[in-house]
């Protein structure tokens, strides 16, 4: 809770993230940082307003939770609908859904790295704030900006070639499968363009690892703490984004829970509310709130997985594992590294899927009516585990809907991370823009998608206020 009499600094809005948020930094009497709160300020209400809609509309409506990872929503939603009709989609439909999801991950990871985070990494945390963005990068490092734009474009093209549209391509997906197959011509286009994307990802990994030497302090202090980690894994423990077993490990890498039947997710995950944020605070139920803080997303997935299952990604994965004790990497800064390794994995997986002749099979649709009155769909969105849970009446009209979004799972961890960075870098007596940008940067490393998380997203001025213990405004900076 924010006590108005306490001294505080607010960063509003947090920019270059996918969402509407503020950070409030609370100060002690001697102006040292006491705590920082990450506050989400928009909300739309999908869980209520989908009530009464036919279940087959759900992929189309819920993909509008997020313009950045709409495909992940389409898939989690379609999987919940598959469960309601009680049908396993044809093999090719599953392959195409997986391929489309690789496009989603490529697009979103490229967006975070190049468009949102690289201005900090390449232009500098303390560089001119008006230039510290993708247009600044276009001017200062055009080749790199072009590489990022093209990589993101390729991810979007995978989605477009399969489903006909880059964003909210909901016409294609159906409960029980998909509406149309992939043509050879479109598959060929993707096959031909894939090697370039793979090469530029490899180049980016080389660049990132060289850059790491310059960011030792940030690696050490950017949300570097123990937590639980959650993600889907394949039957043999490998990296997985579409299906598999939801697994939670502790900070030593020990498996502490496996949710084999997705409908039981609420036995493992609780959701808490704090009155100062629209984003809920999921926690690991066996441990409680807030000690049951866990992380999801690229870093968590690589921590949970035992291997990737593609050659180039597995090479990098081995290096990555060496960065942490027992193979558990706990610095939030390394989400960037994990994201690049996943990019590699997604491109290799897309290549494998495209080379399988079955990807062109025309059997992609199963037909069935409502057979079950409840369905849960789980997928690994770019930012982590995404859960859609629907209940329907015998006519298939939605009576109840719960969605737990990737970004929400990290909420306790965000607050731990912004507090750690604020304590390290924010000097209230000589407040500088770059100090606050680092607080924002740790949030960018997580890559929160608040559009998703509040099943919403915004813009308000950054207004840094220093308020003394008597509530008097002693200093104010607007940028």
């Amino acid at each position: 809770m924010v006590n108005e009499l306490e001294k505080k600094i607010s960063v509003s809005p947090v920019t270059r993230i996918e969402g509407h948020a503020q950070v409030t930094i609370l100060l002690n009497g001697d102006d040292s940082v006491k705590e920082a709160l990450f506050k989400v300020v928009d909300f739309r209400g999908f869980e209520k307003f989908t009530e009464g809609r036919p279940f087959y509309e759900m992929p189309s409506i819920t993909s509008r939770a997020c313009g950045i990872c709409p495909v992940s929503h389409l898939l989690a939603s379609a999987k919940a609908c598959d469960a309601i009709v009680g049908v396993t989609p044809p093999k090719t439909a599953i392959m195409l859904r997986r391929l489309m999801h690789m496009g989603q991950l490529i697009q979103s990871h490229a967006l975070n790295f190049f468009h949102l985070s690289s201005p900090d990494l390449l232009l500098g945390f303390d560089s001119d704030p008006t230039q510290r963005n993708i247009f600044g990068l276009i001017e200062k490092q055009p080749e790199l900006a072009l590489r990022g734009i093209r990589l993101r474009k390729f991810g979007q093209e995978i989605i477009e070639k399969i489903a006909g549209k880059r964003i909210h391509s909901s016409e294609w997906i159906l409960p029980g499968g998909a509406k149309w197959p992939l043509t050879k011509e479109r598959a060929d286009y993707l096959r031909i363009n894939l090697p370039d994307a793979l090469e530029s990802t490899q180049e980016t990994l080389v660049m990132y690892k060289k850059m790491l030497d310059g960011f030792e302090e940030e690696v050490e202090n950017f949300g570097n703490f123990p937590s639980y980690y959650m993600g889907l894994v394949t039957a043999d423990g490998g990296l997985e984004h579409y299906d598999g077993t939801l697994t939670i490990i502790d900070n030593d890498g020990k498996v502490v829970a496996q949710c084999v039947d997705p409908t039981t997710y609420r036995d493992f995950i609780g959701e808490a509310v704090e009155p100062w944020s629209f984003m809920k605070f999921p926690y690991f139920k066996a441990v409680g709130y807030p000690e049951g803080a866990y992380r999801v997303g690229p870093l968590a997935r690589l921590n949970v997985a035992s291997h990737c299952d593609t050659a180039l990604a597995d090479q990098e994965f081995k290096e990555f594992k060496r960065l942490g004790k027992n193979g558990i990497v706990q610095s939030t800064f390394q989400y960037h590294y994990a994201r690049l390794i996943e990019l590699l994995f997604c491109l290799e997986t897309a290549k494998n899927l495209l080379e399988d002749p079955e990807i062109l099979s025309e059997h992609v649709t199963s037909k069935a009516l409502v057979n079950n009155y409840e369905g849960v769909g789980v997928a690994e969105a770019p930012r982590g585990t995404l859960i859609h849970h629907y209940k329907v009446d015998p006519q298939g009209m939605i009576t109840w809907n719960n969605m737990i979004i990737a970004t929400e799972h990290n909420n306790i961890a965000y607050n731990m991370a912004v507090t750690q960075v604020a304590k390290k870098y924010v000097k209230a007596k000589q407040l500088q823009e770059g100090m606050l940008n680092r607080v924002e940067a740790v949030i960018r490393a997580f890559d929160p998608c608040l559009s998703c998380a509040t099943h919403a997203v915004g813009d308000m001025p950054i207004d840094v206020k220093l308020i003394d213990a008597d509530g008097r405004l002693v200093d104010r900076k607007v940028r």
Partner: protein, 180 residues
């Protein structure tokens, strides 16, 4: 808009999914051409925190769903020459306005999410912007000069409108956009 100076463009994200901003980025390599003609002076992807004065064109995504967004949109209107509704949530309310069919829809959606679907501290957050009773399209709050429909609008359409506006011409939407 003088011929030599770059046009000052802003983008604003109200209550929407950011898909319209993503479609803006889906202009891909064409962003390089835009960069020659415009400066992005305010946007969720730019670290400027106060909406500046004297903006030439502002694209606004999303419906107006809470009091902060209402105040923000009013401010944007006074500081921008051409205000463009970008995408269906801004143009009609779209998905953001699906809640409007409930009586006191603000309370209905909040209570479902925070009271019914929580395990701990099940209260509706209060130290956050207050939701409006109904989500509104932009033109119910301020005068809008131009509308780009679509969920999201196609990147080619965004590029066409921007290119025309940057050149000081009025875009012709007939045959290029439609409802739904």
């Amino acid at each position: 808009m003088t011929t030599n100076a770059k046009v000052r463009v802003a983008t604003v994200w109200l209550s929407g999914c950011s898909g319209c901003h993503m479609s803006f980025l889906d202009q891909d390599e064409r962003l390089f051409d835009l960069a020659k003609k415009m400066t992005l002076v305010y946007s969720p992807i730019v670290d400027v925190k106060e909406f500046p004065e004297n903006v030439d064109v502002t694209l606004v995504e999303g419906a107006v769903a809470n009091e902060d967004q209402f105040a923000m949109l009013k401010k944007v209107r006074t500081r921008t020459k051409l205000l463009v509704s970008l995408g269906d949530c801004a143009v009609t309310g779209n998905v953001t306005a699906l809640r409007n069919s409930w009586h006191h829809s603000d309370q209905a959606v909040l209570e479902r999410a925070y009271k019914d679907l929580s395990d701990l501290n099940a209260v509706v957050p209060t130290a956050v912007p207050k939701l409006l009773i109904h989500a509104r399209p932009l033109h119910e709050v301020v005068k809008v000069d131009f509308f780009i429909p679509g969920c999201p609008p196609h990147p080619d359409l965004i590029n066409y409108v921007l290119t025309e506006l940057l050149a000081g011409r009025t875009p012709v939407m007939e045959g290029r956009s439609k409802y739904g």
